[in-house]
Subunit: 200 residues, 2 copies
């Protein structure tokens, strides 16, 4: 196919289409929007990307994505440093923060153990977690992995590794999602919700 448009625009489409949630077609639509709103959207976005290239980094303590290292959360002295919530990835950390569900620190594993995908303990940020727990005399580790087989396998593995250290280990509760309807829930969730029922 002959070139429809300039190489710079083709390249922008090609790169944007690599983002999760965008394919070639939606990337083209996005780029057209960007060019048509050059002053109000394309220019600010180009500037924001340049800023991010310069400043974005991964916190060397917890693995959060931020523009400073240690990150905003690790620097926050009002947060309990003795409670660490372990999550699979930064997206999960942000989700818990948006919910305001945790007032301690975090630890991002960077994935889960997976025999199928060939992910072993050394590929994850587990060693650093054990070191943090030991060095900082952490009191509680909250395992907030996804409720998938791989997530729970990883949780069990971390529990094994933490054995012998003076730290309590907890996990997120399983149950009916708030606002959820029983009729739409899977059997496993319903069984878990029934088993962990609380006094009313």
């Amino acid at each position: 196919m002959a070139a429809i448009t300039g190489p710079e625009i083709e390249r922008l489409i090609q790169l944007l289409s690599k983002l999760p949630g965008l394919g070639p077609r939606s990337a083209r639509r996005a780029v057209l929007q960007l060019i048509q709103k050059k002053e109000t959207l394309l220019s600010p976005l180009a500037q924001a990307m340049a800023d991010a290239v310069e400043k974005a980094c991964i916190c060397s303590t917890c693995g959060n994505a931020d523009t400073q290292d240690p990150c905003t959360i690790c620097r926050d002295r009002t947060r309990d440093p003795l409670t660490i919530c372990v999550v699979e990835d930064v997206g999960d950390l942000w989700a818990l923060e948006r919910a305001g569900a945790h007032k301690g620190r975090y630890h991002v594993l960077g994935g889960v153990l997976s025999a199928l995908d060939g992910v072993g303990p050394d590929d994850l940020n587990i060693g650093a977690l054990i070191e943090r727990v030991t060095k900082d005399s952490v009191k509680e580790v909250i395992l907030a992995m996804n409720a998938t087989v791989d997530g729970q396998t990883t949780a069990h593995y971390i529990t094994d590794r933490l054995e012998g250290l003076d730290v309590s280990i907890s996990r997120l509760a399983h149950g009916v999602p708030v606002g959820g309807e029983l009729d739409y829930l899977d059997d496993g969730t319903l069984a878990a919700a029934m088993k962990s029922r609380r006094p009313f």
Copy 2:
């Protein structure tokens, strides 16, 4: 909510979420991906955006988005300058180009007439089309508007405006999409396909 991450990252998420096809949640996922692939994705994308800011422009002849004015298509001397295909927007132009369906030039209207949205003839690139047809002695105008009510209204309006000029006017054929199944087609398309049937 307290800041989870740095202001530069927040701003990047906010701007990306304005792209068509991305919302706040997918923009966050995209930004996390970008930060984690800083060297291979974020940096090249930032550079591509900066290039696009500098070079992207709208062709003053036909309205195509390109990095030069006149655009690649208007500059291409192998393309027939006497056949102009009129489209609603640049995305439609690119779609026809990908299909290799047209060997002439284009004219982008920048929308369609719409009483509901308050879009009148002066809001569209119609005057420039009439001028091109007159000045360049164009032989054929192909109306390739979408097969919507507004698209067809616009096509009729342009036909009226071109009346009296020595130019033949055509429109895209209606019919069964190639690879389409009759059972899934709407009545209007089936009726149009039957009415415009061709000898086998």
